[in-house]
């Protein structure tokens, strides 16, 4: 750090050495940081191949990767596969609803002049700002009255409500940027408005849809708070909530605990590694203008 604080009036020679040592320092910091980010995940995976005794005796050792009993037990004797399936159903259905409703509203605001457009955008902007977590009590009572409590629907509607505003903004922002010549040409050909939307405009809107999908999918997949309040039946639990029951059940078997965590973390981590660019772009979309 002393180098970076050095006064600016310096010769060209020390300038080069300065940038070299800065690059060196930067390398060390980056490598150290990546180690801190990844090592806990690596230990989690390694420990999943160990017995509890091995974890306690040799926490840092590289395990025998043929020892997959923990994984077999997690998949065979626990409800983890059910939780997994529920997470897929809930996340998938929520994203579908978010995209459908978000595209509808976004399209209307972006492509049709109307005095109510500002109002509609403000309406959704409010939804973007307000943490729905704090309205969980009335939501709980509303879902009870609708008979949705303790079902996957309770989560799907909640997540859709949370994700909808951001989808509206992403879709409206993109659709507004499309030139109007496209739809004018179709209109002259006599195409109906739904036809124009469906066949002309939407095929162009796949990239923002992907961003809206990823931006919402990760928090929905990982959410814990709403299932904690809404879901009680084991067969309707999603992965994060199911994981807490699982962790409670196998408290003293650390090999199982790490195997459970590894299995829960695996799909999204692997997907992220495969599609890191899209993930990063999607998840930071709300914060990057």
């Amino acid at each position: 750090m002393t180098i970076a604080f050095a006064p600016s009036a310096v010769s060209a020679q020390s300038d080069t050495s300065r940038s070299i040592s800065f690059a060196f320092l930067a390398q060390i910091i980056l490598i150290l940081n990546s180690f801190i980010m990844l090592y806990p995940v690596v230990v989690m995976v390694f420990s999943a191949f160990k017995s509890t005794g091995e974890i306690f005796e040799h926490p840092f050792a590289i395990p025998d990767f043929t020892q997959v009993q923990n994984f077999a037990r997690v998949l065979g004797e626990t409800s983890m596969p059910t939780y997994f399936l529920n997470s897929i159903v809930v996340t998938g259905a929520s994203i579908l609803l978010i995209l459908v409703l978000g595209t509808m509203a976004g399209y209307a605001v972006a492509r049709y002049e109307s005095r109510t457009n500002t109002f509609i955008l403000l309406f959704f902007l409010a939804g973007l700002m307000l943490p729905l977590k704090l309205a969980v009590i009335p939501l709980f009572i509303l879902l009870r009255d609708l008979g949705l409590l303790d079902s996957r629907w309770s989560l799907i509607v909640t997540y859709t409500a949370i994700g909808l505003p951001s989808a509206v903004f992403i879709m409206a922002g993109f659709l507004r940027s499309l030139p109007s010549e496209l739809e004018d040409a179709a209109r002259i050909d006599g195409a109906s408005e739904p036809r124009i939307m469906w066949s002309v405009m939407l095929p162009l809107a796949r990239p923002p849809m992907a961003i809206a999908a990823i931006q919402n999918a990760v928090p929905i997949w990982n959410d814990f708070f709403f299932p904690l309040v809404f879901i009680q039946t084991d067969s309707a639990k999603t992965l994060p909530q199911g994981l807490t029951s699982f962790m409670g059940e196998y408290t003293t078997d650390w090999g199982m605990l790490f195997a459970g965590l590894t299995i829960a973390a695996a799909p999204i981590t692997l997907l992220y590694i495969a599609l890191s660019r899209q993930f990063i772009q999607g998840m930071t979309a709300g914060a990057v203008k």
Binding site: R144, L149, T252
Partner: protein, 415 residues
């Protein structure tokens, strides 16, 4: 193709409705519980009941314990809910009995209430109207569970007095054995530890004095007992302030510690995790020889009837069945959990020991007496003992804080 499928489906649905209609001749009761782990036992009990009462069938449904109260009150508030309900006791019972969700039980409707000791019925009684709302199902006690093999190998015996306990922990430590597996990181563990280790020093008289208002929690009996606890805590698990419930179970089950101060319900739990454990139990040691040896006791809960059920007669029949000595015997021997019903036959040696110890008991004080209002005595005891054992306050300060909290609503302390 589509049409045939539709017809088939229609037929299937129709058939289903018809068969459901046929079953309607039988009275079907629903029965809710939070005891997922006892499912096999309850299915068996239900089979026996159905054999006895062929016109009634019972559907058993369980929910996770941490959410049970919420689900139950939600369903009851909506005028739904099961016909027969496993409910908790004391303050928890009041929160669903007070709004009138439960049917009051008396000796006419349920003559089997005579099978229970008064303290058990008191646990399921609403203080406001003095009526019983549930048939109690389990007695729980707070005591010390110990590993017989470790004791034998170390050549030590269960202690009678507090001094013997201190000597015992020194002997174990000299042999490099952790005396107590307990830790204080999980808040509620602090309450169980206090009851398991200190009841004999507090004494029944202390409880009576608290209830009558003659004494409060700044009483020397309470303060001195806390001081003793602070001293003995050096014998808890290494780094005990960071050891949570799971880790202390782990230490004990793995045979890395000799004793566990906690609930009698842990015995079945420990055995389940490590069947080779040879366990014994003893009551909290007395301050001086000749004092009364006590454990702390409470009742877990009971079986209640939904006030809004339209199958009241069948539900009462089932609840009466759950109050018989035969049921109590099966409950105790299958679940290794003591039924409060008088005249049961206990097979298991360690459950017999627990039952014997339970004859001499005081209340599990904060749950039984002070869990009706905020701040509950339990929350106060837990956090202040946690703080005491972490060395952040003295026994006097802890006692004063607990007393101050309870005094905000407990009239006898407000003088």
């Amino acid at each position: 193709m589509k049409l045939t499928r539709r017809i088939l489906m229609g037929a299937a649905v129709g058939g289903y409705i018809l068969s459901a209609g046929a079953a309607m001749a039988k009275t079907e009761l629903t029965f809710w519980s939070w005891r997922q782990e006892d499912k096999a036992f309850y299915q068996d009990v239900i089979k026996k009941f159905e054999a006895k009462e062929p016109e009634i069938s019972v559907k058993f449904e369980t929910y996770a314990p941490e959410n049970y109260q919420t689900i139950l009150s939600t369903a009851l508030a909506a005028g739904r809910g099961p016909d027969v309900i496993q409910v908790r006791a004391y303050g928890n019972l009041e929160s669903i009995a007070t709004p009138g969700y439960l049917l009051a039980l008396d000796k006419q409707a349920v003559p089997e209430l005579a099978n229970f000791p008064d303290s058990a019925l008191a646990a399921e009684t609403l203080r406001a109207d003095g009526k019983v709302y549930a048939v109690p199902f389990a007695t729980q006690t707070m005591l010390v569970v110990y590993n017989k093999k470790i004791f034998k190998d170390a050549g030590v015996n269960p202690p009678q007095t507090w001094d013997e306990l201190v000597a015992l922990t020194q002997a174990l430590k000299a042999k490099n054995i952790t005396p107590f597996a307990n830790g204080t990181a999980t808040a509620w563990q602090n309450e169980t530890i206090v009851a398991a280790l200190l009841s004999s020093q507090l004494g029944k008289q202390f409880e009576d004095d608290i209830v009558s208002g003659k004494a409060n929690f700044t009483d020397p009996r309470f303060v001195n007992a806390l001081a003793k606890l602070k001293d003995i805590s050096t014998n808890f698990a290494p780094n005990f302030t960071g050891v949570d419930y799971a880790s202390s179970q782990q230490l004990f089950v793995a045979g890395r510690a000799a004793m566990f101060a906690g609930g009698s319900f842990e015995v079945a739990n420990f055995k389940g995790q490590n069947p080779s454990l040879d366990l014994g139990v003893f009551a909290s040691p007395v301050a001086k020889a000749g004092d009364e040896r006590l454990i702390a006791r409470y009742y877990d809960g009971g079986y209640a009837v939904n006030a809004k059920t339209d199958k009241k007669d069948a539900a009462l029949k089932f609840v009466r069945f759950l109050a018989t000595p035969d049921y109590g015997t099966a409950f105790t021997n299958t679940l290794k959990n003591l039924s409060p019903i008088k005249g049961i036959k206990i097979e298991d040696a360690i459950t017999q020991d627990v039952a014997k110890l339970a004859d001499n008991s005081m209340s599990y004080l904060m749950l039984v007496r002070f869990r009706y209002q905020e701040p509950s005595g339990s929350v106060l005891l837990q956090s202040n003992v946690q703080k005491l054992l972490a060395g952040q306050q003295t026994p006097e300060q802890a006692a004063a804080e607990i007393n101050k909290g309870i005094a905000t609503y407990y009239k006898p302390f407000q003088k």
